[in-house]
């Protein structure tokens, strides 16, 4: 299953990209299109999930540790 997910993502990256000019990026620059739309909420949610689950990481490095883990 993991292999299939990897292949799917790589296929999307490799084949589906069309060159986008600066003046075509209006939609991409919208607030609701940001990778992290709300860093405030993201910090708090990540902290909850990191403290209740074994998995973490992938978003960034350097967030700091906590006694909850």
């Amino acid at each position: 299953m993991n292999k299939h997910v990897c292949i799917l993502i790589l296929l999307v990256l490799a084949t589906a990209c069309t060159p986008v000019k600066p003046w075509q990026k209006g939609n991409l620059a919208r607030r609701d299109m940001a990778i992290t739309t709300d860093p405030f909420e993201s910090n708090l949610r990540d902290h909850i999930f990191d403290s209740k689950e074994a998995a973490r990481g992938g978003r960034s490095v350097g967030g700091g540790g906590c006694g909850c883990n």
Partner: protein, 376 residues
């Protein structure tokens, strides 16, 4: 001469179009998510309330005032940071640790945390340096980090490389003999790719390696390995659907570590714009993990010399979190948002579970309110 004139006309047309895009209210924030330039300054202050329950008992309550800011630095640079104060009370969940270090029969603790990151932007790359600190009665964590992003000429592809070093000092309020530490190094590489004029994807892989004390100082039988290597692969897809005036967010993360834990989580969020001032965002998240090689729900362990933990977070389980968020723009640069989430965790929700661990189902709920001030 004629060619020069044509090129000038072409440039002027592009400038006019970009200026028009910049004038659309609340739309343009300066750069695409690939972040090839400083984003507009922003300050957020707010509060989170967290509660959890297990076996129909109320357990932990956490109150968290929180602030986040991004402000302009010298020249083409920005400073980003946050401050958090966690205040915990109640009893921690069975077999679980808490949002803070102290767990066990009764918990009354505070956590203060802050982080700061400075990023300087050049023509084709950026460099950032950061630091973070978190203190509790029984825990101190310090981190330094560095990050660089490099983008293509058309800014449709951005590569990220980042690294951090963390030092944690661990003690216990019930056992003065616990005076331990842990050192962790992490690296992350990622790519952000514009797919077309309505969608983009970011994919990051992070690796972290730590040495030191991983056991829970409040669980006398807890005996975890003194090292851990973790891999995480996070892919985040964003698509704008103009017919609905909405944005779709799809995230998937694969996680594996040297303790034999493997985890998947998928989350879907739908940002629905309503008129000029409202955004409503329903979201759902599913998480599943396999148990650590040394996890055992039987307490006490048969062999006390062996690695052992009965921490529920190292068992086979699955979890579903559903939430809703509302954001209202009171003025062009001032918004308020409210969100609420409920989380349900139990072993029966594990997608790849192998053993019946008989862990008590666990429920949590949290709500966040915040005030957002944006600057032009």
């Amino acid at each position: 001469m004629k060619k020069k004139q044509l090129r000038r006309n072409e440039r002027n047309r592009v400038k006019a179009l970009l200026s028009a895009a910049l004038l659309i209210p609340g739309l343009y924030i300066g750069s695409v998510s690939a972040q090839t330039a400083p984003s507009s300054p922003e300050v957020r202050i707010g509060y989170m309330e967290y509660r959890d329950a297990q076996k129909s008992d109320d357990r932990m309550r956490v109150h968290t005032p929180h602030a986040w800011f991004r402000l302009p630095g010298f020249g083409k640079s920005e400073v980003e940071g946050s401050l958090t104060f966690d205040s915990m009370s109640g009893a921690s969940p069975y077999f679980l640790s808490t949002l803070s270090g102290a767990s066990g029969m009764g918990v009354d603790d505070q956590r203060k945390a802050g982080d700061l990151k400075y990023t300087h932007y050049l023509d084709s790359f950026s460099v950032g340096l950061g630091g973070a600190i978190s203190t509790e009665n029984d825990y101190l964590s310090k981190t330094i980090s560095g990050e660089s992003r490099i983008w293509s000429d058309d800014k449709n592809t951005t590569f990220t490389i980042a690294g951090s070093l963390t030092g944690d000092d661990i003690s216990s309020r019930i056992d003065a003999r616990v005076d331990e530490d842990r050192r962790t190094g992490s690296v992350l590489v990622g790519i952000t790719q514009v797919i077309d004029d309505k969608s983009l994807v970011q994919s990051n892989v992070s690796f972290s390696s730590g040495d030191g004390y991983y056991s829970d100082p409040y669980k006398p039988l807890d005996n975890r390995p003194r090292s851990r290597e973790e891999w995480a692969w996070l892919t985040q897809y964003r698509r704008f659907l103009s017919d609905y005036d909405a944005a779709l967010h799809l995230d998937y993360r694969l996680f594996a570590d040297s303790w034999d834990v493997m985890a998947h989580n998928v989350s879907v969020a739908w940002y629905q714009n309503i008129g000029e001032s409202w955004v409503i965002r329903p979201s759902i998240r599913y998480y599943t993990q396999s148990e650590a090689s040394f996890f055992d729900s039987e307490v006490p362990p048969v062999d006390r010399e062996k690695r052992f933990s009965a921490d529920q977070r190292l068992s086979d389980f699955g979890s579903v979190t559903a939430g809703i968020k509302l954001e209202y723009a009171m003025a062009k640069d001032l918004s308020v948002s409210v969100s609420a989430d409920v989380m349900h965790q139990r072993s029966g929700l594990a997608a790849f579970g192998h053993e019946a661990t008989d862990i008590k189902p666990f429920n949590a709920a949290f709500g966040i309110v915040q005030l957002i001030k944006r600057f032009p």
